[in-house]
């Protein structure tokens, strides 16, 4: 039909709690090359570097790249209505389904609203537990329903599963119905938006994160474990001194004089500390970096400068050696 304004593509992102929906939406927002409107359930979980935020009014966040992120908290229908009423139409609307919701029910909006068209329903699955969730007597039916009509499954957190477990998770999802497209991802290998009509072999367009989506990216892990505690001010200096190749650092630590442990989270240059309930009284941090991440010993020395007491010896009688590229992730803190 002629004369009709162009329709706005809609992508719905579903998946059970903890599958990585927010991580994916954060990624899309940060790397968005056209003007996305992203509707999210938990506004607080959206984690965008302050430098990328142009405006933030409590329920709507406008980024410097033109993307907008809206909280669904004030009512989903009202929020979506507001997005459609924007004077300059968005290039793409991305809607996060709730962790227990059926994404197809939301996708149906794009089938009946003439100004919209459905681009894709993407469902994320946590590779570490999707098989267990599908078999769970309480939530199995909820989780299975989410995959019923999806176009693409992102089998996520495959950096936390070994090859066998990944295969099993993939098989569990594939068994739900014929022809399910499954792409393995991790927090650091999130794809861009699939474009409807593209060949199945390359469902993603070029993405702003280099070298991530198109080939097997190699990452280096670094684990820093010490008895004892940090001093606060020297730690700030030390964190600033860490090299840019370190993409992320997370774990818990204690401070001299403080009563309880804190959760340290650093992404890029931004870091935060929050008190946590943890039995662990020592320091355990796990870092992930690009594959030119400097030698662990170099990184260790940077953080050691912030220790309140000299490096403590563990019960094996030596300074615990930092580990890299641990094949089994057992005992690690998941990086999310």
């Amino acid at each position: 039909m002629t004369g009709k304004p162009p329709t706005i593509p809609v992508t719905v992102v579903g998946g059970f709690l903890g599958a990585g929906k927010t991580t994916y939406l954060n990624h899309l927002l940060r790397t968005g090359r056209s003007r996305y409107a992203v509707l999210v359930n938990d506004f607080g979980a959206v984690n965008i570097d302050a430098g990328l935020i142009a405006k933030h009014d409590g329920t709507t966040m406008t980024l410097t790249n033109g993307c907008v992120c809206c909280s669904i908290g004030g009512g989903f229908l009202e929020t979506l209505g507001r997005i459609l009423d924007e004077k300059i139409p968005f290039d793409h609307i991305i809607i996060e389904a709730s962790g227990v919701g059926d994404p197809w029910r939301i996708a149906e909006i794009a089938l009946v609203e003439p100004s919209l068209r459905l681009n894709a329903v993407i469902v994320l699955a946590d590779a570490t537990r999707i098989a267990a969730l599908l078999a769970d007597p309480r939530v199995g039916d909820t989780v299975r329903n989410q995959f019923e009509r999806c176009d693409l499954v992102l089998l996520n957190k495959t950096d936390l599963t070994d090859a066998n477990a990944t295969r099993e998770a993939s098989a569990a999802v594939a068994a739900l119905r014929d022809g399910t497209k499954i792409v393995e991802t991790s927090e650091y290998t999130m794809p861009g938006l699939p474009q409807a009509g593209r060949k199945a072999t390359s469902p993603f367009r070029a993405d702003a994160v280099p070298d991530v989506a198109d080939h097997e990216q190699r990452f280096k892990r670094w684990q820093y474990r010490r008895r004892g505690a940090f001093d606060r001010a020297p730690l700030e200096t030390a964190l600033r001194a860490l090299p840019p190749q370190l993409l992320r650092l997370k774990g818990h630590c204690t401070f001299a004089g403080d009563s309880g442990p804190s959760l340290l989270q650093m992404v890029g240059g931004d870091w935060s500390l929050t008190p946590v309930e943890a039995a662990e009284r020592d320091i355990l941090l796990v870092g992930v970096g690009t594959d030119d991440l400097p030698d662990p010993a170099v990184l260790d020395r940077i953080l050691d400068r912030a220790l309140a007491t000299p490096p403590a010896f563990d019960h094996h009688g030596g300074i615990q050696s930092p580990a890299i590229s641990i094949p089994s992730r057992e005992g690690q803190i998941p990086c999310r």
Binding site: L17, G74, E78, V100, I109
Partner: protein, 547 residues
């Protein structure tokens, strides 16, 4: 006695205070009860004797522990449900037994409208109550083909629209979404439900009549309905408490003539626990005699008759698939513990017994992690709980607010379709709660069912369905005394307000329900028919409007 003291005399005062159950006089000063007893005991030198209630029976003002402000918003629209209801003006609005009667009432409402383009909204329809007959677009087209019509079901989840709305929304035989129902002619029947169809319909109607901004008139209508039914403390048990709502509640509740104590529950779904705790701290600082913030509502599953409640094995009697989680079972303990640690009282909606189990597990875990005496977390509805679950509730200090009205309104559906005979007999198991010793209230969930604690008490005493079937009468029915406690002092207990309201007792608010008859004198089948003269709230007499 202080010169401002007023002593009300009555034919009988049922205090619900076990240490002084009956009286003939109550003295009131500064909005509170200063003495209860006989005139000789009270004395009364210097006080004013008010004998306007000398032929009436006073009870503590009723406490509705689970209803919604929407009751005050619906009455600007025509009611088309099957059962009689009383409006805030005190008018008896007759129930409509069939489609013809519904069409006639809509025609009447349509004729009274002045703006030819304004949509006509109506509410309260439930096909289950008129022999499972659908309301079609053709029926509604007989009302008008030039004005949009939308009839919202009693469940509030399904609507019926006329052909004009379908045309404008471009919903036709090619539409392929789950929420658009088709008629035998292959065209949409006019029944729409689900998020997509609702979105589309509200887009073309220009508004959602149920999500407009709350006004002071809505709140006053709610208070008027309360007065008509003898209610002096009422909840609004799920509200985002947006700034505009908070402002309206503040303004309404500060008026001296505002005739009900309002207890809003903050909806957990629109906040993280951290945000909610911070918000409640701010709101609680604005509490006054008639506005009581502090509680939080969680919704775990859907409804039984809508087949969205979560049931344990063997599930729905008719084989329907299990219902929906609105909060994931693994997320609930995290949320519950956060509020529990913050000292907040939770009201947890669980209809199905699987949802109830998950809620009990969550409270148990919170109690293990952070033991807290007298938390009084309350399971709301909790319609399918069995004795074992009630025993766990007792052990954990949980309260329950049972949906007694369901026995009447959907008892037949539960017997035939959803739960089957055995489980339907222990639907809303008030008798079990009584035997095991779980503090229990009973409620209406108005506007889902009519606001009327005397009717709710009648349901719990008689346990009879609208089709005439007794359900658990021998095992789960309450005595009149027990049922009255469940709409007064125990309902107040579930709101942590039993030190303020729920009995007529020295020191408490002078809140009374003024009845024409004594509930202990009439036949148990007649409790629902006792006329309510009005209320007294904080010593202020308010005669119910009669239209």
């Amino acid at each position: 006695m202080h010169a401002d003291t007023v002593i009300f005399s009555a034919r009988k005062i049922v205090t619900m205070n076990p240490s002084r159950p009956l009286a003939t006089h109550v003295a009131v000063c500064d909005g509170r009860v200063v003495a209860v007893g006989g005139l000789d005991e009270i004395g009364g030198d210097g006080a004013t004797l008010d004998d306007r209630f000398k032929d009436k029976v006073l009870l503590p003002g009723f406490v509705e522990g689970h209803s919604h402000i929407m009751e005050g918003m619906m009455w600007t629209l025509p009611y088309v449900g099957a059962f009689d209801r009383r409006s805030p003006e005190g008018k008896l609005v007759e129930g409509l037994p069939d489609i013809e009667a519904i069409v006639a009432r809509l025609q009447e409402a349509e004729a009274a409208m002045t703006d030819p383009d304004a949509p006509l909204y109506a509410w309260g329809f439930d096909p289950l109550h008129i022999g499972s007959v659908s309301l079609t677009r053709q029926d509604l087209d007989r009302v008008t083909t030039t004005r949009p019509i939308m009839v919202v079901h009693a469940s509030f989840h399904i609507s019926n629209v006329n052909t004009l709305v379908l045309k404008r929304a471009e919903l036709d035989r090619t539409t392929n979404i789950s929420g658009v129902v088709f008629g035998t002619d292959g065209e949409p029947s006019g029944e729409v439900q689900g998020i997509a169809a609702r979105f589309r319909v509200f887009r073309v109607l220009g508004s959602n009549p149920l999500s407009g901004n709350l006004t002071i008139d809505d709140v006053n209508r709610y208070a008027a309905s309360a007065c008509v039914q003898g209610v002096t403390t009422i909840t609004d048990l799920h509200n985002d408490l947006a700034d505009q709502t908070v402002e309206v509640y503040r303004a309404a509740s500060r008026r001296d003539d505002f005739s009900v104590r309002l207890v809003p529950a903050l909806a957990s779904v629109s906040h993280t626990p951290e945000q909610a705790v911070a918000k409640l701290a701010v709101l609680k600082a604005t509490n006054n005699d008639k506005l009581h913030y502090g509680i939080v509502k969680l919704v775990v599953d859907g409804s039984i008759q809508g087949f969205t409640a979560r049931l344990r094995w063997p599930g729905y009697h008719n084989g329907a698939p299990n219902g929906l989680w609105y909060i994931a079972p693994e997320e609930l303990p995290v949320i519950v513990e956060a509020y529990h640690r913050a000292g907040i009282q939770l009201h947890i909606h669980t209809n199905g017994d699987e949802a109830t189990e998950v809620a009990i597990d969550a409270v148990e875990a919170a109690q293990m992690a952070a033991p807290r005496p007298d938390h009084r977390h309350t399971l709301q509805h909790c319609q399918m709980a069995d004795a074992a679950q009630f025993r766990r509730m007792k052990a954990l200090g949980l309260c329950v607010n049972l949906f007694a009205n369901h026995v009447y309104y959907w008892g037949d559906s539960h017997y035939d379709l959803t739960m089957g005979p055995e489980r339907a007999h222990r639907l809303d198991a008030t008798g079990t709660a009584q035997r095991i010793g779980v503090p229990y209230a009973i409620h209406s969930d108005a506007p889902v069912t009519p606001l009327s604690p005397l009717f709710t008490a009648w349901c719990a005493v008689n346990r009879i369905s609208s089709g005439g079937r007794e359900l658990g009468k021998a095992t789960e029915a309450l005595t009149v005394q027990q049922a009255l406690a469940a709409i007064t002092i125990t309902a107040a207990y579930t709101l942590k307000m039993d030190h303020l309201v729920g009995s007529i007792e020295t020191g408490k608010y002078a809140d009374f329900a003024v009845l024409e008859e004594d509930p202990f004198d009439v036949a148990p089948e007649a409790i629902k028919d006792i006329a309510v003269w009005g209320t007294v709230v904080g010593g202020r007499v308010r005669e119910a409007p009669r239209a």
